[in-house]
Symmetry: C3
Subunit: 335 residues, 3 copies
């Protein structure tokens, strides 16, 4: 079961065009496209009412989409407006239309009752479009339940192990517990659950050190915010007497099925906007490389292992405080 | 459930040899081969009675097939005639044998009670072997229920959309309904359901125009005949004051499983038999290219979509008159 | 259901190192490694108790293994000894540890109650480590139930058909029954079932003839011994007045799932130890080539066919005497 009456992020706005494509959201196959005439975004049930051909194989014509099998044509509300060689069209010839909007550079579709689709329910992420920042947006397909991908971000202690050789650090290894000091505070309000985690005396990996030109240990602070249904905004600050840099990591998980999800990701930086390294291409290469080869395989392995072992009970550590608070909030909302 | 006591087409006669191969027909795995001594066609249950190894991995020896695992040998009736190092063979060592015949250049196997296997039940297709015609036979494997593939041929209105840029036309698009005039007549008798569909003022695609050397619009007539279990014979006539050409499209769908089928296809032409274009190689390239890249992917997508959406009710159009009549006949026969 | 309280062979000892790897044994995913400090072998449930990440993705550190996701560290008993940034570790943070030993060049894991893990239960195969022999060990992954792989070895009459052109002979073909004389004796005791099968006047394939430099027909004797749960030791003697050679074929089948297994194999020879052909590389190439391209595909095809045909009753031949005796013993032990 999935949370309904929610906005789900499916793509980056830059990817929308008159070439229709499919995303399955909460088990519902949906065709997405931008119309040729008005340029509006459309999301329809991905089937022709005639013979169930996928509309995503069709062609956008004007403000409509034509099924490529027998030429039936649907408008943006999902109603069939034309059957070849036929004057009248049955009013039963129609498919479901979904509310859809663009916000923060992403495309969001509403799963639930259309009348409740309130744009204000989308979390605020103004840095993604701010003048003094530079944002890079990515999409990943993950063969795991969306919550496992979210949990990855709710316990950022993983960055010093899974990412030890890429953008993590060497903190937290056995025998080094006392040297790197950790603090962690979790708070909740009606709309969100938040966490601030600080590590002192962190020796950065070469990649992370290069971003800020750090040559010495830093204080590293993660300010995290979870919003329903599945957005995790992380403000990551790395600082010492040499420099201070801020990164906004935005992670939005959209269920495809119970065991697969779409993972939309933004990396916004406030540093080196005019300088050589990193530029946006560097950021994309680094982030898509590391997430694609470290986080995604781990989360997919976790999903397979949970299924194989019959979903054993997790044993939490102190670093799971934030994750536990979010899971509790989700259970309250479901209940 | 599949219709039994029927002939099912599995291959072209030209493909039969002493190299055994398997086809699954109506969920039954069957090994096919031609014997080395008498040259007869044989169809047996594809398992050795000893240890269930597939006989299709075996070797044809004389008029028999030897299992490659332990050397047990079966005759064309499915009886084991030899067990190595053993004088007597149990009469239980036997597998099922199927009636099999060659007709119209195709190989047909009988699923049902062998005593009811009447060769006269195979639909007549004499043009496939006529002196003044040239026939090209093809086989496709389709990951869809055989009826979805048959439905493709029962509604030929798809040719102007799915095949718009290959062998269709530009008729029927929204806004053009009145310009291209369609008539359609459906009739039934005890053995078959028939349809005649005529479009006037048809502007052909370049490929179809080239077949008859047409430079102007044509009258295009499809004479269709459906015979049980799943044969659709289409006589396609394109004509104007420049030329008249006739094509026989023969489509025979054989269920493999509920969601896969074998699709045997014949294209017989009465034109350009001695001239350059199209020769048989052109026909094979064009037809296998278009069906393989346009019809088969569409029908497979339809199958997947029907499963994903829980098999929604189709909304018919006027062009579905023939398809509806055939479905009704099938339902009557199923009882 | 699998037989428990048994040793199962999972790998060759030569493959063990500090690089952890997974084998699924009797449906249980297990991580195997050799520790860096003491060099002992360890087998643990392949999951971290924290969040179920596979430990096989982790790193061996000293005598422990660290999960790569969040750095939790487990000792060889499966107890968590370290959680990053945390002083105390919950005693619930633990996974199952399996008894594991090395014997005869193979690694064995105990599935069942650890206190019953008696090393004496592993079948004796002293030739594998004898001074005057040379042994080559191989591993195959087979997509079939382990018993189907074992049955392959319990009916060696397959060697003259499946391996006719590799290391079999031309004996037993239809029409040749009387020329090659077979004898076969089956005996049982408490620990094992045994069979001696002798063929006289055997014309060897070129490969088998070359091993012993045979130019004439031989007497070929298979002395077979089956031990629970699934070891088949075969002593193969080929002899005539030119030469006599002895090969020990050891076959150990370990269930992965109901329809897949690990197949460990040893080929030990007493001939040509100092001469050119065959050397160990020849043996490996020949045996892995023939088993991988002849036995494994056949057994996998048999598995698929049994599933497709609903597991028909096998019809045994006289050569199945040993196989039937072993199946009877297995049924008695299960019952």
């Amino acid at each position: 079961m999935f949370i309904t009456n929610s906005w789900y992020c499916v793509e980056r706005a830059s990817e929308m065009s008159t070439l229709p494509f499919e995303r399955i959201v909460c088990n519902e196959p949906i065709v997405f496209f931008q119309t040729a005439k008005s340029g509006i975004l459309v999301a329809l049930e991905n089937r022709c009412p005639h013979r169930q051909a996928p509309l995503s194989m069709g062609k956008v014509v004007g403000d409509e989409i034509m099924c490529i099998y027998h030429g039936w044509t649907m408008n943006s509300a999902g109603a069939c407006t034309h059957v070849p060689h036929q004057v009248n069209v049955s009013s039963n010839a129609a498919v479901k239309s979904y509310p859809i909007i663009e916000k923060w550079g992403f495309v969001w579709v509403w799963i639930g009752e259309p009348v409740r689709a309130d744009q204000a329910l989308i979390p605020e992420m103004p840095w993604l479009v701010a003048e003094d920042r530079s944002a890079v947006l990515s999409r990943f397909y993950v063969k795991a339940n969306y919550q496992l991908m979210a949990d990855n971000l709710l316990d950022v202690s993983h960055s010093d192990f899974l990412h030890a050789s890429s953008f993590g650090s060497q903190a937290g290894k056995k025998g080094e517990t006392d040297k790197v000091r950790q603090t962690m505070e979790v708070t909740s309000d009606n709309s969100a659950v938040r966490c601030v985690r600080t590590l002192r005396d962190v020796e950065l990996s070469p990649m992370a050190a290069a971003w800020g030109g750090f040559t010495k240990q830093v204080i590293r602070t993660h300010r995290q915010k979870w919003s329903p249904p599945n957005t995790v905004n992380i403000e990551l600050i790395m600082e010492n007497d040499e420099n201070k840099i801020t990164i906004n990591h935005d992670h939005i998980m959209t269920p495809e099925t119970e065991t697969t999800c779409h993972y939309l990701f933004g990396f916004t930086r406030d540093y080196n906007l005019d300088k050589g390294y990193p530029n946006d291409a560097d950021v994309r290469r680094e982030q898509e490389g590391v997430i694609g080869s470290e986080d995604v395989p781990m989360v997919e392995a976790q999903q397979r292992n949970k299924l194989r072992f019959g979903d054993p009970v997790d044993i939490p550590g102190q670093a799971d405080k934030f994750l536990i608070a979010v899971h509790k909030r989700i259970a309250e909302q479901a209940g």
